[in-house]
Chain length 333, copies 4
Amino acid sequence: MIVVLKHGVSEEKKAQLISWLEALGLRIHISMGEYQTVLGLIGDTTGVDMDLVGSLEIVDSVKRVTEPFKCCNRKFHPEDMVVEVGDVKVGGGNFVMIAGPCSVETEDQIVTVAKAVKAAGAQMLRGGAFKPRTSPYDFAGLKAEGLELLKIARKETGLPIVTELMNIMDLHLFEDVDVIQVGARNMQNFDLLRELGHLDKPILLKRGLANTLKELLMSAEYIMASGNEKVILCERGIRTFSDYTRNTLDLAAVPMLHQLTHLPVIVDPSHATGIARLVPPMALAATAGGADGLIIEVHNDPVHALCDGAQSLRPEEFSVLADKVRAIRGIVA
Amino acid sequence: MIVVLKHGVSEEKKAQLISWLEALGLRIHISMGEYQTVLGLIGDTTGVDMDLVGSLEIVDSVKRVTEPFKCCNRKFHPEDMVVEVGDVKVGGGNFVMIAGPCSVETEDQIVTVAKAVKAAGAQMLRGGAFKPRTSPYDFAGLKAEGLELLKIARKETGLPIVTELMNIMDLHLFEDVDVIQVGARNMQNFDLLRELGHLDKPILLKRGLANTLKELLMSAEYIMASGNEKVILCERGIRTFSDYTRNTLDLAAVPMLHQLTHLPVIVDPSHATGIARLVPPMALAATAGGADGLIIEVHNDPVHALCDGAQSLRPEEFSVLADKVRAIRGIVA
Amino acid sequence: MIVVLKHGVSEEKKAQLISWLEALGLRIHISMGEYQTVLGLIGDTTGVDMDLVGSLEIVDSVKRVTEPFKCCNRKFHPEDMVVEVGDVKVGGGNFVMIAGPCSVETEDQIVTVAKAVKAAGAQMLRGGAFKPRTSPYDFAGLKAEGLELLKIARKETGLPIVTELMNIMDLHLFEDVDVIQVGARNMQNFDLLRELGHLDKPILLKRGLANTLKELLMSAEYIMASGNEKVILCERGIRTFSDYTRNTLDLAAVPMLHQLTHLPVIVDPSHATGIARLVPPMALAATAGGADGLIIEVHNDPVHALCDGAQSLRPEEFSVLADKVRAIRGIVA
Amino acid sequence: MIVVLKHGVSEEKKAQLISWLEALGLRIHISMGEYQTVLGLIGDTTGVDMDLVGSLEIVDSVKRVTEPFKCCNRKFHPEDMVVEVGDVKVGGGNFVMIAGPCSVETEDQIVTVAKAVKAAGAQMLRGGAFKPRTSPYDFAGLKAEGLELLKIARKETGLPIVTELMNIMDLHLFEDVDVIQVGARNMQNFDLLRELGHLDKPILLKRGLANTLKELLMSAEYIMASGNEKVILCERGIRTFSDYTRNTLDLAAVPMLHQLTHLPVIVDPSHATGIARLVPPMALAATAGGADGLIIEVHNDPVHALCDGAQSLRPEEFSVLADKVRAIRGIVA
């Protein structure tokens, strides 16, 4: 950490600050510029409150030199992490297509969609049983029953299942789920993250609506610091002033995350745009931009879907898309 | 709800759409413009998926005429809600000052600060026992012990206590807390909101970092629809491109919320700015802008605070501020 | 335009509003809902101030049914516009690669880069002679001399030239320029746009940092309403809270603009990210996402570039990229 | 400037970088941390391209220690700047109220409004003659004729006039204007700023929709570096995801700018909100938050205003507001 002092600070105040920092177990390297003094803090600065130091009267500004995340930092883990879900591999050159309906509605629906997306090449099945909804009056999912229907679809197709957990108290219901998804609104539900860190099960961690990449990595760090290293990151659009789409897909996050971390990064073009017609171009763009996979909403009857029908592809549209995804993957991989 | 059809839609497709909408229990009022046809949907449209209708091939756009929130809608509740916390009233002309440290640290600390803020005119004590922290390596609060220390401070001063609940599983520990705070990151933790709706206890609901006013009101609706009407809203800064402050305080939200809802609205200038020096001007601004109260971080020793010292006022600074707040309140109330 | 009245408005006030609207030359269609009255305004509402109507005491909200842009509206121009620059076609299935340095620096530099990008398959040469710079102390371009050097490079390679005009007063210097670029900061320099509308020359219009797609189209409308229909739109990143890249590339704007307008849409991955390493993945993503072309910064010696070296590719990197772009274009076109 | 090198950089590459930096006239101070090497650049770093240095292969990150603005930097000008406009003083404890219509429409209108706002205590008259409009089909102002009408209103009331210049080519028309306004959309019209730097006339510089405080100060620097030190800054709302108001008023910018610069800072609550009903609370908030003045839209007949009627106060509303502003000013000044 580097601390820039204000111009004209007295020697006495400078000495006080240095004593205070040394009391935190740090060594201090002093560098006098033409105009300002700069302190280099050497040692473990993980526990130093950067905002507090920056707020001190004699301090001009503060800069972290080392990132505050370790478990998910590529600097310490240069090799790509490969997350295994049964026979399916994600990351390190392995591209995954996850598809399925926003909500699980009936056995017929989920099995039909599962077979269709498998035929088109999907390697995992997604489907919501517990659904976060902005309005208390909207359909909130079939809950435990939905999980059972997902398992039936898995049995019929062999596809591992990915589904969202909203609440620690439901965790016991997810024992036989293959990948647990943490939704965007729960990205900073720290108690939940910590609990998931005690599992031996892959976690699909979605970026929050207004979270920076550093915050996403700190949330991955919560899971990993508790012992579970199987984390897949997911870019799903951020909230900006732009109002034509539900969110703004931040695709540059993909190569940037690949530089910062060794974890796999997939993209959700369905939630990023909220508009079915925009899903194929953005899915292709994500593939071309280097994503390790896609998670896409597919519904056999979008007009009658109980949730997010507006952004769901029909199985035949997904099939056409999947062919193009593979072709592009052949060029960029 | 109003549905604008695309130009040149065939009569057959139009009739299909109308049948589909009627099947949802709605009456349809058709209006033919020079260029486009507009359908007025009459009846209870709360359950109609606006995005889905908007995604239909023949639909140009959709507009809601009535807001999807009812319990917290001023249209149906023209009188200001007054939330009572013991003898303290909030809203409807009653202004409240809530103050205290970011985190409860020791009995001595919390009692000292409680006495100081009471002397300066604060009517409630705030203090975090369960702390959401971006990094898994940061101090996360004293938890149950912190709640006990808050109760001691309440006993010493008579100030009701406000503290954050992060997790439904901890709810039993909060029985004797006066006001439960829902933090910004939990504003859309819908299971938590629903649970708080079953209590008979005031809830302080903070606006999320990237949430619209409508979303804030929908979250209040979750609590109220479950039966608990005692909700106090709190503006605490939103995330924007602007990087000089931690967040951007959106003060116009105060008069706008007063128009949309009858619930009281307070402001948190400490988290909105993250910088102690900016807290007094923004607290005064919030008061002048019509807020029903303030929640402010005060610490007796900010430099050694375990959390958010950078944004805490010293008791003497809070006292000077409180005098000015009362003077401004005398002008605008 | 649709005007929703507040609940319980008196018949007298309603009649007054209707008279006022009729005085603007509109016919009014009244529709009574269960709870609210809705007025449909029929006729030319282009000149009606939507915000003003929305601010009237008896009005709840207002919605435009028809977009306020006409010349660039796909509804009225279903066929793709093809903009021709000499022999080069842009749009309607014609993909263009534009490349060159941020700033023109020397004859040797611009000719070298021009030859290199031509060899790699670029069809136009970009290069800044007039440079907008945030700081008054930064290099602001070679100005008239830079334009002359661009013409030399054109003569040497046959590539048409694209360069930015910042100021109407310099317009006479741009007579022999092939495509005039309007930079992001000038997207709403309305006097400049109107003046460019009087030319018979293609305009490359970049989206502003914080402008919606509608505002971008209204700016294109300024040019087209004055008579010049040769407009190429360019997405180059928007400003959001996300701070890892200079801007956030909003790729979904490409298919969305294709739906709203018949004008060609290209992408600038260099300014969108500001980081050379991210340019290839975002260029490929833009291609896969359906862009009609790319404009990319290429410099033969980025480390010594006078401007934006951080985001420039070397010619050999551009050449590798161009091959992949063509391969992806083969899949999606 | 501080340059943090990546872990494990070879001595040879380090030496190359140091030579390159020394060739820019800088002295380099090397500091070896436990994990990384940090270079301190001593000397004039104004011309060093921070992004370029940051993009070098061996560099981890870069931080500026001194701000790149000088003329408007409070570090070098600790005393408040007082800008004088005739007898009116702005800044350094002098509070100014500027009021008037969005657009000048007729002699009768502007004189009536001028008299009314003067009676209420305004010290300057605002009014647009050249109007930037998003749509080419909207009223764009009376132009030169509007300026003449403003001068008549000045003659009738003695109020100095403030009006917007959009285009350098119109500058000759503004000789007899008291304060030239640079609108938000022109905040980075660098040629215009430079030209205004050659005048001996106060400039009211509005913050752009999506510009940081640093960029605002760099734009002030353009004017001041050319010789004109009379700059008044104006916060007028920024663009965010929040959609209830036209813009989001960023009031914390006021005390933050007061810390960074010695220039006066005023607030425009009319454009910040776009809604007349929100103007009084936000004007009071700005006053309480420490602004050096307000610029407010007042129209004698908002419903028939040719522009921005939705956000204009009536004279009697302004008068009530002005009394409260003075009362609050009495408390905070």
